[in-house]
């Protein structure tokens, strides 16, 4: 039976992650309340025709149209009183952009002992983390408002980090082993 993977946040990391996982025998569920903006097209796996659409709907259409891959979607903002309803699955992958929502995911995963993988980027595209919840500490958001999401310059690095997220998920789904990665533009270290 296919495992259920829930991806929270389908912006930069999450949108690329979904397409990198397209060949896995898994049921993918994506959660995001946001809509595609023009600036997102430069760095996220969302195309120009998707501008104005909910990110989850845009991704669902792209995955179906390009690859024939069905995904299920939730277009709600994750908050404390809906986490039990939204956060389901055999694996949760956090691709969020704010500490408050990450904390909700982390508390849920720890309370219900659901395997949880986190993806995170530095604002200037100089560092990426793919890390299992057991070792994950939420960074403060001093750098929020930086150019990571808005500048196509970082697209290759975002895609590389997403690819390592996909690889970590792939290893876990196949073997149960939790492998993490620290990624800089010049190298990768297993953590």
């Amino acid at each position: 039976m296919a495992k259920n993977v829930t991806i929270v946040g389908v912006g930069a990391l999450g949108s690329h992650l979904v397409q990198f996982l397209r060949s896995e025998d898994i049921d993918i569920r994506v959660i995001d309340f946001d809509r595609v903006e023009q600036k997102n097209v430069q760095s996220q796996f969302h195309g120009k025709p998707s501008v104005g659409k909910l990110k989850v709907d845009a991704l669902k259409q792209s995955m179906q149209f390009l690859y024939g891959k069905k995904i299920s979607t939730v277009s709600h903002r994750l908050v404390y009183n809906n986490d039990n309803e939204l956060l389901k699955g055999d694996l949760i992958i956090d691709c969020l952009d704010n500490g408050e929502a990450r904390e909700i995911v982390q508390k849920y995963a720890r309370l219900y002992e659901v395997p949880c993988l986190h993806g995170a980027l530095a604002p200037d595209g100089s560092f990426g983390r793919v890390i299992w919840d057991e070792k994950f500490v939420i960074d403060s958001e001093a750098g929020q408002g930086g150019a990571t999401c808005e500048n196509g310059e970082f697209l290759p690095f975002i895609a590389i980090t997403s690819a390592y997220l996909a690889r970590a998920a792939q290893i876990f789904l196949a073997t149960g082993k939790k492998t993490g990665f620290s990624i800089s533009p010049t190298g990768v270290v297993a953590v």
Partner: protein
Amino acid sequence: MEEITNNLIPNTEARVNVTYSGQNGDLSDTVFFESTDGDVRSWVTEAVQNGSIPGINAAADADFGDFVVDRFAATEDRPYNLIQLRPKTPFGK
């Protein structure tokens, strides 16, 4: 007898990996795994200012005050302890 985590690095020591301005490298010497965050920042700051980390260009004004110190015990895939000094990573989307 002191346990060795690989051929070179005792399990009380760690390699220090640094990411700065999109460049990445290791301190030339290992450090005590339980070194304080302050000591790690101080050693790395001096090394980057002096240009003694291969892969990272010398930067006289290097400042790691807002960087994060992560510690990872040795694993099967990485048979040595690792300390990482890295920029904060608040973004995912």
